[in-house]
Subunit: 317 residues, 2 copies
């Protein structure tokens, strides 16, 4: 049984461990799809970041039974062809929770404590104790998206003694949220959230979810942070909200166009902080992703039908 | 009964509330000791930051029964004269816990996530996803000082799933610490602490507490953070530890000499981050400090003898 990976630079210790633990399997670790596609017709299991497949490649993969996507983004997966060939798809949803929660608090503290000015003062050897700082403790945080990432953000927010309010499609109660609301009636949350953190996935229902009127409802001292998907809100809407002081600051890790073009006005906007879609970056990434793969591999080899993070190809999540 | 305050710029709402709640008392809010010292001989209660008194002033304060110090630093208090006149002293110990804990995590996340480089990239419109970041979650934190501030730091560290090890004079167990060690046998902690956070007060026993050999025991990837007192360790010792790569980074908010002189080499050292003794700065400072004052005022007026943060003039803490 061929297990083919198109993941670049799989860590040596992960490869060695897999080969040692499963001597009955043949592993082929390729450096990207260009190298991997030759072997794809022979592979039963394919490990990918989910951005390198198309209908044609899937059609050629006649023996393929399972695609393990080592990320949470599924937008580029050719699901109808995958569905036709009845291929199992699982992903690594949830492994971004720790770094993305750390990103959230790093950025909120950075804004609250005026880190850019503090660093600029350090560079000019300026001892300025009078810089006005605020605290994040005890504030109210609205979290759009109550999945694994949203819950980890809310868990830490509770540790900072915040009130946490979650917004999701169903509005079902979730751990670490003091309140949860469904997306058909949630706008009032914006009227008392000091922080609005968006970690919604990109589905047809979340594209353009946040509009001009939502920013008009937010508190003037509110910080808006988007690390979910760039198409949740039009860039122009955020820019205007900040410029007209409807909110105090926007922290953006995701954009309608990525990489954000060098000449884009967002880079220069004083009260918008731009980061290069790195909220999920972690030195633990491969380890956590392959841990999920191994757990699912055990189940696969035992012929089980329950898998961690199984994706419905018809829904795409 | 005259309640005299030398605190500059006491917030209007605090003054109004005190005057409304205690119509039987006479409050005099002065802008510093120069303005206050005239009234000091008539005052029964004096509110100060604790840096403006001397033997002469205390001697003149013949009616003085209680000094409320709105800070935790007691180094400049003329305690022997205060003791002679049997004046009650209380302070605002503990109110720095929230901002100092926020400072700690802001700074650890700043180093772990390479914030200076991220901000520099933003300034040059550079989209760089490849910057290596580490996580703070799951690490081990040693905290020198297990009082109110150390406990708040440890509480948040536990939320970040860290192992927390406290070091204090007695080594008595304290909330939020997985282990605690006494200062007569604690050095082994340095061998496995990813972060070493110092919040020790300045007493004769903590001056020069950390020495060259301690840094030699620390992990090469360790981050050392000092926000307690600058005389805990000689600046030169920290500088050499960083330069010889005994530790990865030092975050310093306190110094042997403050303000840190503009020409000091620390400002320019790549792996030392200098902040201007602002870890305790908070917009909530006056509110929290006066909350303690009011609680003690109630007890004082009722003739109780137990007070929050009562200081022993003979020990100075």
């Amino acid at each position: 049984m061929l297990v083919l990976s198109a993941i670049k630079n799989v860590k040596e210790d992960i490869r060695t461990r897999l080969e040692a633990d499963y001597p009955e399997l043949t592993f082929s670790f390729c450096h990207g799809i260009e190298e991997a596609k030759e072997e794809l017709p022979e592979a039963e299991i394919f490990i990918t970041y989910g951005e390198d497949l198309n209908d044609e490649l899937v059609k050629q993969a006649k023996k393929l039974k399972w695609i393990m996507v080592l990320s949470a983004g599924m937008e580029k997966m050719p699901f109808s062809q995958i569905d036709q060939q009845e291929i199992l798809v699982t992903n690594a949803r949830g492994i971004h929770a720790v770094p993305m929660a750390e990103y959230t608090f790093a950025m909120l503290l950075q804004i609250a404590r005026q880190t850019k000015k503090v660093i600029a003062n350090e560079q000019t050897h300026t001892w300025d104790k009078k810089l006005v700082m605020s605290e994040i403790s005890g504030k109210t945080m609205g979290v759009l998206g109550t999945g694994a990432i949203g819950q980890e953000v809310a868990r830490l927010a509770k540790a900072f003694r915040m009130k946490t309010i979650g917004v999701s499609k169903t509005g079902n109660p979730k751990p670490h949220f003091d309140e949860t609301h469904a997306t058909d009636k949630w706008e009032h949350v914006l009227e008392y959230a000091d922080f609005v953190v968006a970690v919604m996935p990109s589905t047809s229902e979340t594209i353009g979810f946040l509009r001009k009127e939502h920013f008009q409802m937010m508190l003037p001292h509110a910080i808006f942070l988007n690390m979910g998907r760039g198409d949740l809100v039009e860039t122009e809407t955020v820019l205007q909200a900040v410029r007209s002081k409807e909110i105090a600051h926007a922290v953006l890790d995701v954009f309608e166009e990525e990489p954000l073009p060098r000449e884009h006005v967002l880079w220069e906007e004083e009260n918008i902080t731009v980061t290069p879609h790195h909220s999920g970056v972690s030195p633990q990434y491969q380890y956590r992703a392959f841990d999920i793969f191994v757990e699912n591999l055990e189940r696969y080899l035992q012929g089980q039908e329950e898998f961690i993070n199984k994706i419905d190809p018809k829904r795409g999540y």
